[in-house]
């Protein structure tokens, strides 16, 4: 309780307030730009923080992170382009709702779910930092492997009408993930002497290509005019009935997000996909998923915003950044001579309390700025299709180019777009490919690391309790999903097309 009081003191600090408001605005803009990841958005601000006071600098960077994680959902809903990796799950139902002319509601749901997720995550961060930090410590390499497998098990339900096609897509993703440096030996794999491939292919290139580029190609090949349903350029929040319905998927998202955020290396993408999947599993309106379900937006958006808060747990308690974004934040701390880790709370408690206060202001700022900004975004995508397509094309090209100023990245993105276009024609779902790509490295490196630990003894995955528990859950998920498909097949009932929107 004392902590809460000390945090409250900072709420009135105009400096913290300004830094949080500026950070969250900049973050939303950066997150909404395809290709500009939260970490790049933060890195761009870093030079400005050199001369700021430590609290202001940290608040600015952390609020940018919060804003960017939310901002990713805006293009996901409006132009089928996840602005951040973690927003990929939001594309499924968000873009469907947009196509039905309900963009205002979709954006409203993602906004208020994002705010709720942030506030929940922040509460956990403030009150339960210590116990949550011990969760991070319980995860050994075998446990990370099992966590990755659990994430991959979602593929079984995201595969749409054909499990086989889902596996093909997942394998494609896993194959792309093997490009780059071997995680154990350090040798180069499938790089063909190109230094551009040395650090692997960034998931963002594949995501933007497969989702956005392929959508542009599909639209360009559609000659019909005026089929587009326009959404009214205003943001709508759900009524009481819908809000009550969304409470359950939101709590799923908040819980999963909190835990995934705490684990270094797990991150928002796994959290949002897993909460999407769980929200669908426990929903009373399963048939709506993939066809514009509000629950399908609420769950992943709550999750990835909760991650943005609890990702600070390992950073503040151990000084360990779990993602690129928190690594930039670590840089922000170091620049000001602060060393995150066990001593931070005793030595610079004031900065930590200021940070908490700033994050609270950022969460509220998210709501205010979202309400002001979103109608303009809807207006923008209501422009005639040729203009819009040209604008999106320019936007994604410049976004991808700006990551490393690399034409090679652009080529990869365009190639992924072409592959995505043909995948859509063959009705092969994208989501398993994206999941395979995001999780491939985690699964492979943890698997091989575990084997180095155990001296090539596979039993390590069953003697580690966390690993065993996660593997059992993953097995139950897959068995349940496959069993249901088999049952539907025997009874000659068509399987539900879960991920229609992803095809």
């Amino acid at each position: 309780m004392e902590t809460l009081y000390l945090v409250a003191v900072h709420l009135g600090n105009p400096y913290v307030f300004l830094a949080a408001a500026a950070g969250v605005t900049w973050g939303i803009l950066g997150g909404a730009m395809p290709g500009i990841s939260p970490s790049i958005t933060m890195a761009l601000l870093l030079p400005f923080t050199y001369t700021m006071d430590p609290t202001g600098a940290i608040v600015l960077l952390a609020s940018t992170y919060v804003g960017a994680e939310y901002g990713g959902s805006i293009p996901a809903i409006l132009i089928r382009t996840p602005g951040t990796n973690a927003a990929a799950a939001t594309v499924i139902d968000g873009y469907e709702m947009n196509k039905q002319g309900r963009a205002g509601l979709a954006l409203g749901i993602s906004l208020y779910s994002g705010v709720l997720g942030s506030l929940f995550g922040l509460t956990m961060l403030i009150l339960l930092s210590k116990p949550l930090a011990s969760v991070a410590l319980a995860f050994t390499p075998p446990a990370y492997f099992a966590l990755g497998v659990l994430g991959l098990s979602v593929i079984a339900t995201l595969s749409g009408d054909s499990l086989l096609k889902g596996f093909v897509a997942a394998l494609l993703g896993l194959m792309i993930a093997t490009i780059g440096t071997d995680p154990v030996t350090g040798a180069n794999r499938f790089t063909f002497g190109s230094s551009d491939l040395l650090s692997g292919i960034a998931p963002v290139l594949i995501m933007v290509g497969m989702f956005a580029m392929s959508e542009l190609l599909v639209q360009a090949s559609d000659r019909s005019e005026g089929t587009k349903v326009l959404s009214r350029p205003r943001i709508e929040f759900p009524g009481l009935k819908l809000a009550r319905r969304l409470m359950f998927p939101q709590s799923i998202g908040a819980t999963i997000g909190t835990f995934e955020g705490v684990m270094p290396g797990a991150g928002g993408t796994i959290a949002s996909f897993m909460s999407y999947n769980e929200a669908r599993r426990w929903s009373r309106h399963k048939e709506e998923f993939g066809k514009g379900s509000p629950e399908g937006i609420a769950a992943p958006e709550t999750a990835n915003n909760a991650v943005a808060e609890t990702a600070l747990v390992p950073l503040l308690s151990f000084g360990i950044p779990g993602s690129n974004s928190t690594a930039i934040l670590l840089g922000g701390f170091l620049i000001h001579g602060l060393v995150p880790g066990p001593m931070l709370f005793t030595r610079s408690a004031d900065v930590v309390h200021g940070l908490y206060a700033g994050l609270f202001i950022a969460a509220i700022g998210l709501l205010v700025i979202g309400i002001l900004m979103l109608p303009m975004c809807i207006w923008l995508v209501n422009r005639p299709r040729p203009y819009l397509s040209a604008f999106i094309f320019a936007l994604i090209l410049s976004g991808i180019f700006s990551i490393h100023a690399s034409l090679f990245d652009l080529a990869i993105m365009l190639a992924a777009g072409t592959v995505g276009f043909f995948m859509r024609m063959l009705r092969i779902p994208f989501l398993p490919a994206v999941l395979g790509l995001v999780l491939g490295y985690l699964v492979e490196s943890s698997f091989r690391r575990s084997l180095v630990l155990s001296g090539d003894d596979l039993s390590i995955f069953f003697t580690d309790k966390v690993s065993l528990a996660l593997l059992v859950v993953a097995f139950l998920f897959v068995a349940g999903s496959v069993g249901k498909r088999a049952l539907d097949f025997v009874r000659h009932r068509p399987s539900a097309h879960y991920s229609e929107g992803s095809e």
Binding site: M42, A43, L46, P47, Y50, T51, A136, L137, A138, F139, T140, P141, T181, D182, P183, V184, T185, G186, A187, N188, T191, G193, S195, D196, L198, S199, P264, G265, P314, F318, G319, I320, P321, G322, A327, I328, L329, L330, G331, G332, L334, I335, V339, P340, G341, P342, M343, L344, H404, S406, S445, R449, V452, L453, S454, G455
Partner: protein
């Protein structure tokens, strides 16, 4: 209008305070230091701090530029093709040797000219405070009885090389687990998955101060000023010394006056009492090497690394 004037004035005064009047003897006005590290990364923060002290000594503006991609391959290509007029330099760490050897990029470390060295980052061996190991000998003994579990931050890194050398020189059995950075490694040491980890003091400082980890030895050539009781691996009789360097390299064919200016500036920067306080607090060891010595050092370092990578089967 008023705002603009104030802004310009503020900018000018800020520039004045950081960069002094331009001296006549250095051939260019602005020196760019290229790093492959991302903004906020270890090398980036280090360079920005150092450039504050370097600027007045060289009498120029010093700018840090991040040329990322390919673990330094892009930065090396950038430098190798830059004119050797003293305007553009590359901040070297062992990464540029590893990348050159591992990925055979178009431009390698041999296409650059090592200029001067500033620092050595001491590498230390640490274990969790709750572990039963009190000394490095305990770890080696335990690993001789049953297979040890040792950790390094990255697969192609000096830390892994150091552990592989230690393993070879002691002849014990140990799995050397590589990670995706020091953070991952730290977690696995703290939770007891690994017996020991290797890292720079700076990376583990906070845990060290909180008493959550214990240092066992350093791979340095001499004991560390901040930890006078910590034995070196060499004096324990295992004969492994590791020098993680931080220096500057430029394009081939640097003019003699530029080389001389840097040699003087480097020594002056390292001697600056204000900077000394900062870098010693960050556990960096000043280790000035002039141009002639540094070139030799880099060559030896690269040869050692290459034979290690060959022996461990990473490259053919």
């Amino acid at each position: 209008m008023l705002f603009r004037q104030i802004f310009t004035a503020a900018l000018a005064s800020a520039a004045m305070s950081v960069f002094p009047a331009i001296a006549a003897d250095y051939p260019v006005d602005t020196v760019t230091l290229v790093t492959h590290s991302s903004p906020g990364g270890g090398s980036d923060v280090f360079l920005r701090e150092m450039s504050k002290y370097l600027a007045p000594e060289l009498g120029v503006n010093v700018v840090v530029e991040n040329v990322r991609g390919g673990s330094g391959a892009k930065a090396m290509a950038d430098l190798a093709q830059a004119p050797a007029d003293g305007a553009r330099f590359y901040a070297t760490t062992p990464t540029f040797i590893y990348t050159s050897l591992l990925s055979e990029p178009e431009y390698k470390y041999t296409d650059l000219e090592p200029l001067v060295n500033f620092f050595i980052d001491p590498e230390v061996i640490y274990t969790a405070a709750g572990s039963k190991f009190q000394t490095l000998e305990d770890v080696i003994k335990a690993s001789a009885e049953s297979r040890g579990r040792w950790g390094a931050a990255n697969p192609a890194s000096l830390e892994r090389q150091a552990l592989e050398q230690l393993k070879a020189s002691t002849g014990v059995q140990a799995g050397i687990v590589t990670h995706e950075g020091g953070g991952d490694l730290m977690i696995n040491v703290l939770n007891g998955t690994l017996q020991i980890g290797v890292g720079e003091v700076q990376e583990i400082q906070s845990q060290l101060e909180a008493g959550e980890i214990r240092l066992l030895a350093t791979f340095s050539d001499a004991r560390l000023d901040n930890f006078p009781d910590l034995p070196t691996v060499e004096e324990l009789g295992y004969g492994v010394v590791v020098r993680k360097f931080r220096g500057i390299a430029g394009p081939k064919g640097l003019p003699a006056d530029v080389i001389a200016a840097w040699e003087n500036a480097a020594q002056a920067v390292l001697a600056s009492p204000e900077y000394k306080k900062t870098y010693e607090a960050n556990n960096l060891r000043a280790n000035f090497m002039p141009h002639a010595e540094y070139g030799q050092f880099i060559e030896t370092f690269a040869n050692d690394t290459e034979s290690f990578l060959r022996e461990s089967g990473v490259i053919k």
